[in-house]
C-alpha cells in the first residue's frame, strides 16, 4: 500500500476541492499513509479516505491506528456519521412529512421525545431528525465540550453516548417507515451497518436496542426479511 516512490509527488498534491471542481474530480486525490498525514485533522482525513475507498469494509474502518487517542477516534467517527446522516435526512424530506409521520417512532411501541429542546417535546419524525442532527452538530462543534480535536476530556467523551442513542432513531424510523429510501441510502454508504458496528464495538448502545437488522456479512437486508 505504501508508495515510497510517489512520496515526492505527494508533496505537491493539495488535497482541496477548489470551487468549480466537477463531481467526477471531487475528492479525487491519491491516498496518503496515516503516518504521513500532517494536518491537525489527521483522524478525520484518515477516516474519510477509508470511507472513499470502501465504505463497506467496516472492520478496517473501525480499526484504530496505533497510538491513537480513543476519545478522539470515537469523536471523529461520530462526527463523520452525523455529517453523512444529513444525506439520509435530505432524502427523507421527500417522503417524510410532519402530517404523515406525526411522531418519531420506529415500531409502534416506542414513540420518542425530541431532546433538542430545553424541555423535551413531541416532534414529528422529520423535525426530530432535523433537530437531533442540528443538536448533534452543535454539541460536536461546541467550544465548551470539544475545544480541541487532538485531545478530548473524559467528561466530553461521556456525552457521545447520548448522541448515538438519539441519532440511531433516525435509522430505525427510516428503516421501518421509509424502507425504499433507507435501502437506497444504505446501498451507497453502508452507514447504518457502520454505525451499528461502531456503537457495538464501543459499547455506546445496548445490542437489544439496535432494532434495524444487520447481517454480519455486511449485506443489506432485503425487504423480504422484514
Amino acid at each position: 500500500m505504501v508508495m515510497e516512490a510517489q512520496s515526492q509527488q505527494t508533496q505537491q498534491i493539495l488535497r482541496r476541492n477548489r470551487p468549480g471542481t466537477s463531481a467526477k474530480e471531487f475528492c479525487q486525490w491519491p491516498d496518503e499513509n496515516f503516518e504521513e498525514m500532517d494536518s491537525t485533522l489527521v483522524v478525520q482525513q484518515y477516516i474519510q479516505q477509508l470511507i472513499r475507498k470502501d465504505p463497506s469494509n467496516v472492520e478496517k474502518l473501525l480499526t484504530m491506528p496505533d497510538g491513537q487517542d480513543e476519545g478522539v477516534w470515537k469523536y471523529e467517527h461520530l462526527r463523520q456519521f452525523c455529517m453523512e446522516l444529513n444525506g439520509l435526512a435530505v432524502k427523507l424530506q421527500t417522503q417524510c412529512f410532519p402530517a404523515t409521520c406525526t411522531q418519531m417512532t420506529a415500531t409502534e411501541q416506542w414513540i420518542f421525545l425530541c431532546a433538542a429542546h430545553k424541555t423535551p417535546k413531541e416532534c414529528p419524525a422529520i423535525d426530530y431528525t432535523r433537530h437531533t442532527l442540528d443538536g448533534a452538530a452543535c454539541l460536536l462543534n461546541s467550544n465548551k465540550y470539544f475545544p480541541s480535536r487532538v485531545s478530548i476530556k473524559e467528561s466530553s467523551v461521556l456525552k457521545l453516548g447520548s448522541v448515538c442513542r438519539r441519532v440511531y432513531r433516525i435509522f430505525s424510523h427510516a428503516y421501518f417507515h421509509h424502507r425504499r429510501i433507507f435501502n437506497e441510502f444504505e446501498e451507497q454508504t453502508f452507514l447504518c451497518l457502520r454505525f451499528t458496528h461502531f456503537v457495538t464495538k464501543y459499547n455506546l448502545m445496548s445490542k437489544d436496542n439496535l432494532i434495524v437488522p444487520i447481517s454480519d456479512a455486511g449485506e443489506i437486508p432485503g425487504e423480504s426479511e422484514a
Binding site: 411522531q103 416506542w110 414513540i111 420518542f112 421525545l113 431532546a115 430545553k118 424541555t119 423535551p120 413531541e122 452543535c138 461546541s142 467550544n143 465548551k144 476530556k153 473524559e154 467528561s155 461521556l158 456525552k159 453516548g161 447520548s162 442513542r165 438519539r166 459499547n203 455506546l204 448502545m205 445496548s206 445490542k207 437489544d208 436496542n209
Partner: protein
Amino acid sequence: MDGLTINSFFDNDGGFDSANGANEFVDLEFTYADADTHLNEIAELYSYTEHNEFQLNVKAFEDQMEMYKLKPLWQQLSKEQHISIILKLIDQLEVLDNTMRMKAARTLLYLAQGCWVEVQSDEEQQSLSRYNVMLLYRSGVFQAFIELLNLEIENATTANVAIRKIAVSLADSVDLRVILSVLYIITEVMRAEKEISESEYKDLLEAFVQEISQPIGDELLAVKLLGMITRFCSGSAPHFPMKKVLLLLWKISLVSLGGTDTLKRLKNEYRVREGLPVITEDTLEVSKTMRASSPPPTAGNDDNIPKRSRPFRRVRNIVISESLMKQSSLDEQEQLGMELEAQNAENEDDIPDYYRQLDDPMNGDKNGSALNETEFHKQPSIAASIPPSQHPTLPWAPKVRQKDIYQFMDISRRKFIGYSLPDNCETTAGLPKPICEGINILKRHLYTSLADVQIKREEEITRNPLTKGEDEVPINPTEILYQAILPNLPQYMISLLKILLAAAPTSKAKTESINIMADVLPEDMPMTVTQSTKLGIDVSRHKEIIVKAVSAILLLYLKHFKINHVYQFEFMSQHLVFANCIPLVLKFFNQSIMTYVGSKNIIPIMDFPSCVIGEQPELTSDLVIGDSEPYSWRNIFSCINLLRILNKLTKWKNSRIMMLVVFKSAPILKRTLKVRHAMMQLYVLKLLKMQTKYLGRQWRKTNMKIISAIYGKVRHHLNSDWAFGNDLDARPWDFQAEECTLRTCVDRFNNRRYFSQISNAVRFPDQTNLSNQNTGLNSIDNGVFNGIENELNINNILNSENLIENDDAFDLTKEFKNNYETWLKEEVYCANPIDWNEILKEPNLILINEIKNSIHYSTYFMKSG
C-alpha cells in the same frame, strides 16, 4: 405509650436545672464537618412516609427484567449485561409515554439505591450502590435525568392539579421525587468518593465535578434548582418537593465548589498570588482543641423560653436612636474601676468556674471517677493538674488591621506632636520610644486580608478606568455560579430565607404562603396513635433537614464568594440583610436550644436502608424513637452554620451589629452558650463580643463570665476597645452612610464586571446563547470598556431626553448644531466601538474629564433608577 420507647438523654419537657445537672458539664463530642456520614446523608433524603414507595421501585425493576427475559437478580448478571440494561433503560427514558418513562426511572432509582432486595447488610448495600452509581454515571444517566427533570418541572398538568388542591400531599410529587432522588444519590455518592484519597473512579469523579460546574444545556444545575425554589415560594408550583430540591442543591454546590479543605487551599492559593503570607491557623482545628465553657449561671434566669415571647418588631430601616448608644457616660478610668469592683463582687463560686474552660473532665474522670460533677466542680486542685500543653497561651494569634495602625499613629501624633499626617504610617519622628515600640508590635501583627487587597484594586480601577484595566477574571466554579445567579440573586435569597422561616421550629403554622410539608404528608391522614406519633416525628425531622440544607447552602455560598471576590460576598450578604436574615436567625435561636440540640426526631429502624433490608418488624410494635447519640448531629450542624452566617454578615459592619442590639440578641445568644460545644460557643462569643460595647455597663457587670470567656477564646485585635466602645467608627450617624457606600461599591463592581454582559443578554438573547458556547471568555475580555461604553450610551439617551423636555429653556451650542449629524452617524448609527487608543494618543484632558463625569453621573442614575 402505645409501644413507643423513647431513648431519652435530655428530658425534653422538664426543666434543665434538675434533669441536666449531671450532663451540664459533659462536652458534646460533636465534630463539625462539611456533611454528616454518607449513610445518614442518604437516609435523610427519604421521609418515613415515603416508605411504601420503595416497594414500587423493586416492582418496576422486576417488571423490566421480566420484559428483558432475565431473572431479577442484578448481582448474578455480568458487567456487560449491566451496561446493556442501563443503556436500554436510558433509551426508555426518552419515550413519549409517561408511565413507561417513569418505570425506567424507578428501575434506575432502584439500581442507584443498591438493589437492596438482594443484599443482607448496610455495607453490602452501600458498595453495590457505589458500583451501580458509577456505572449509571458512565452511561449518561445523570444527563438523562436532568432532561427528565426539565420535562417534569414544566409539566403543567401536575402543577395545575396541585395549585387547585387544598392540601398538597406526597402523591403530587411522585415523579419529581423519583428524579430528584436519582440525581441526589449520584451526587452524594460522588461527594463521598471525593473524600477517598485514592479512588478508583477518579476520572469519573473529575468528569462529574466538571459537568455540574458548567451550564448543562444553557443553564447551571444550581440555577435550575434555585429557580425551582423561587417558583415554589411564589406559589406557582406548590407540589415541588422542597426538601429534596434543597438537599440536591446543597450537595451539587458542595461537590462543585468544594468544602472546607478546598476553601482553605484556595484561600492560601489566592493569598500567595497576591503576595500575602499563607494562613496556618484553622478555625476548625483550633476550636477542636478548645474546651467548652460552662454556661453562664445567670443563663438559668432566662432559661426556659421567655414566657411572653416578645414578637419581633419588623424594622425595615434600622432606626438608630441615641438611646442605643452606650449608656454610660463615665470616662474610661472610672468605668474600669467599676468593672473591677464588679468582678470582685461576683459570686466567689463562679470565678473558678469560668477558668474551668481549661479543665479536662476526662482527666478528672481518670483521677477520681468517684468524684461527682459537683464535687469536681469545687475542687481547685484538679484545675491545677491540667496538663500545661492544653492551652499555655491564648488560642489565637492577635491581629491588627492597617486601619488600626493609622488610627493609633494619628492619635499619638496629635497627642505628642500636635498635628496629623494622614495616610502615613512610616514616620515616627517626634514620637516617644514606648509609642514607637507599640507601633512596631502593631506592625508585627498586621494582617492583610484578601478582601483588603481586592477592595484596593477596585478603588484603583475606579480612579483610573482607562489605564487600569480589569485583570482577566479567572473562570472557576464560584465565578461561573456568581455570574449565573447574579441577575436573580435577590429573589433567590428571599426564597431561601422564606423556607428557612417556614422550617424554623419556633414558627407557627401561620406562614400559609408556603407549605413545606407537601413532600412529607401522605394522602390519607394517620388513623392510629402510633401512626400519628410517627408522622409527628417525620414532620419535625423534615423541618430539621430543611434547615440543615438551607443553612449549609447559604454558608457555603458566602464562604466561596468571600474568597473569590469580596464584593460578590458583600452583594449576597447585603441582600440577605435586606431580606431580614439577621432577625430571622435570631428568631431561630429564640427557642429552647437544648431541646433542639438534643432532639430525637429519628426512628432508626425506619431509616433507609434499615427499613428495607432484612426481616421487617411489624410497625405497630415496639418502635424505638431516637438513637443513642446524646445530640442531634444535624441540629448542631445547622446551629453552627446559622451562627457562622450571622458572624459573616455582621463582622466589621457597625450598622448590622446595631441590628443585633436592636433585636435584643444578647439574651438569646447567652442562652445558646448553654450548648457545651467549643466551636459553637466560639461563634456565639464572637457575636457577643462585637456588640458588647453597645450593651451598657449593667449588662457587662452582670455578665463578666461571658466577657472573660470572650477574652479567653476569641481572637484579640490589639488596641481594640471592644468592651467599652470608644471606637470612632461606631458613631451611629455613620451607619446609614456606611451601608450606602458599600452598596455603591458593590454596584459599581457588578456594573463594570457583569452589567455589560447582562444587558447584552437581555437585548440579544440569541447571540449570548451562541457566545455562551465560548464560555463567555470574549465577553469578559472586553468587560471594562464595554461597561463604560454602555454607561455612556445610556447617558447620551438621558441627555437627549433632557434636551427634548427643556427645549425652550436650553440653547444648544453652536458646535452641537453644526456637528450633531456627524456625531449621530459615528456614535449612533454606526455604533462602532470607540477607539480609546485614539484618545490616549492625543491626550485631551477635557474629553477625559467629560467621560469621567459621565461615568459618575450614569452610575448615580442607575442607582436611583
